[in-house]
Amino acid sequence: MRRWWSRRRGASDDDISCREFGRLLQRYLDDMLDVDAARRVEHHMHMCDDCGVEAETYQALRRALRDSGAVSQESLSRLRDVASRIAEAADADHDHT
């Protein structure tokens, strides 16, 4: 694995170490970094192959999780139907309870 001191490919003021990148990556994935910190993370992932792969792997992991969570279209359709006549549904539920 590339060491934090060994990354060098167009060094600039935006450079951060691999260790710092690892510390910030999760918050970057959750859009919880400020603009400057996010830019430094993005700069590093483009400069450092290992960290770039690490970020891509986490992003692919999240995509795979997201894809696994598709909801039933039939359920969705029924609920949208309830929503389209919500006043009647609320009255019916009130009468029922």
């Binding site: 918050r27 891509e56 792997t57 992991l61 795979a64 696994s68 969570g69 359920s75 949208r80 609320a90």
Partner: protein, 181 residues
Amino acid sequence: MVPRSQREETFARYVVPEIEVLLRVARSITGSSADAEDVVQDTLIRAYRGIDRFDGAHPRAWLLTILRNAERNRVRRRRPTLLADPDGVEISLTSVPSDDDTADQATRSAFDAAVRAAFAALPEASRLTVELVDVDGLTCIEAAGVLGVAPGTVMSRLHRARARMRASLRHAGIEYSEGPS
């Protein structure tokens, strides 16, 4: 009293676009597609009745609070003696993938299958946290509201869980390159 047409308009504007997210979250916390649909229907009705008190800000957070209460009522009705765990996540709230999902697994890539296996191996509280944020698309703050824990707790659980899943992929020899292998 707000006219019925205005209530329906507000409902259509703020509530209807969130139905899919509500259904995802409800499935995560109930572990059942059928129960999820019931909870969301209850949530929609409660939201409509309470819409006069909604100020138009943060509709998703408002709806998730209603959904959480609807789920609590459902569990209370079904299992009055159910105990809650120290983190506020009720023990019965599992997030085991449904049978509907199983059929899809056959066509998923090795990467996706490995991710699902790593996800299934997570401790329950971590799995539910990952499910709410990474599967259902909630923010950490929204997930904290659903779980009844601090946002920091959600973040630490989430980050540990992702690192654990990442390590599982590495141990399984699954690495991401140009695309999932």
